[in-house]
Amino acid sequence: MKFKLKMLIVGLALTTSGAFAGNGTTAEHIEAATAAYKQVAKDTSYQWTTTVRTIKAARKALEAGDDKAARKLAHQAMDLVEATRLQAKIEGETWQMRVPK
């Protein structure tokens, strides 16, 4: 169990960093985070309000011409998306442990 989780975390870290290693425009990074958010919601029904707010903040920063802040927020949003997916995975395997017997 612990090994699987370790591997999952490493995998997610690599995937996330890989996705953002490319040059891409900030707008593309925001769209990538938005698409990932929607995909996790579709796959797991898990959605965090914080992710929505962070994506909105990234769009707002981009509109205001603050590319650096917008990109940072897009990356934060992607981290939140990945954490959401991880939460769904962990919970899918462990929720029954909370049921009184």
Binding site: W48, T49, E82, A83, L86, I90, E91, R98, P100, K101
Partner: protein
């Protein structure tokens, strides 16, 4: 990120010591109710229908004072008026639910024809639309007035949610609601069970969390925080927002199944809605 994962794992491992995989609905219900009876030995079983006031003597005094002039009284009167108001076709809600609407103990129920859980709010709207009337909104407003009237007339009825053994879809709906109750969600990584089972009675900031046993008994409520009446599904949505999870749609399948589970867990208690809550 690492902290979130660490917390989740630590919580999971800790819980696995005291809890385990359980069996069917009946066994679940016995274990669930026993958990609260052991955790709050001074609370008479039937008193869990009073929510957090069943475990907080100081808050109970204030609540009982509020109940002397209940803030939901006007909602009951308005609900009665709406209940008896003829539709355009001359019928009324009384044609669907009887003269006094005392049918609280029939909901939530499993509808085997449609393969879904039907709540009282959903049944009211289905009655309205079947008679050519507009449906009501599900979280607050008129729907809470109608259900306040119907719940008031149903006071004293026993919670008796049934899961038909001859329809596996009913069990699946129950299991879906059960999974929802015990599953952590939102950025704050909380399950319903975290606040209302595992740490029920503890303080979260200035608020004491209520026992999950009794959660389905007293709706709709006049909540001081809202300064208005609200439905159980409104409260579900509020809880989800508190833990930074997107709420589900009121009367959507997810919340209907959750209501099915939560109310089934309170089988044997009395319906005592509408109620006042902090």
């Amino acid at each position: 990120m690492k902290k979130i994962i660490g917390s989740a794992l630590a919580g999971t491992l800790g819980l696995s010591i005291a809890f385990g995989i359980s069996a069917g609905p009946v066994e679940d219900q016995i274990a669930f109710q026993k958990y609260y009876e052991n955790r709050f030995p001074d609370t008479p079983t039937e008193d869990f229908a009073n929510g957090v006031y069943s475990i907080l003597p100081a808050a109970r005094e204030q609540w009982e004072a509020i109940e002397e002039f209940p803030p939901y009284e006007l909602a009951i009167e308005a609900g009665e008026e709406f209940y008896n108001k003829p539709f355009a076709n001359g019928k009324s809600l009384a044609d669907c639910f009887g003269a006094d609407g005392a049918v609280r103990n029939q909901y939530p129920k499993w509808d085997s024809e449609r393969g879904m859980v039907v709540t009282m709010e959903l049944a009211i709207n289905e009655c309205l639309t079947a008679n050519g009337e507009k449906p009501l909104k599900y979280k607050k407003g008129k729907i809470t007035e109608v259900t306040a009237f119907m719940s008031f007339n149903s006071r004293g009825q026993k919670v008796d949610v049934k899961i038909p053994s001859d329809d596996p879809r009913a069990l699946a709906a129950y299991e879906n609601g059960k999974e929802h109750f015990y599953t952590k969600r939102g950025q704050l990584n909380f399950a319903c069970a975290d606040c209302h089972l595992l740490t029920a009675g503890n303080l979260y900031r200035a608020d004491t969390t209520s026992p999950g046993f009794g959660h389905g008994t007293h709706w709709p409520v006049f909540r001081s925080k809202w300064q208005s009446m609200g439905t159980l599904h409104r409260r579900f949505g509020g809880c989800h927002k508190n833990i930074r999870a997107n709420p589900y749609k009121a009367q959507g399948e997810e919340y209907r199944n959750l209501e099915y589970f939560v109310t089934y867990m309170s089988n044997g208690l009395e319906f005592n809605g509408p109620a006042a809550r902090k």
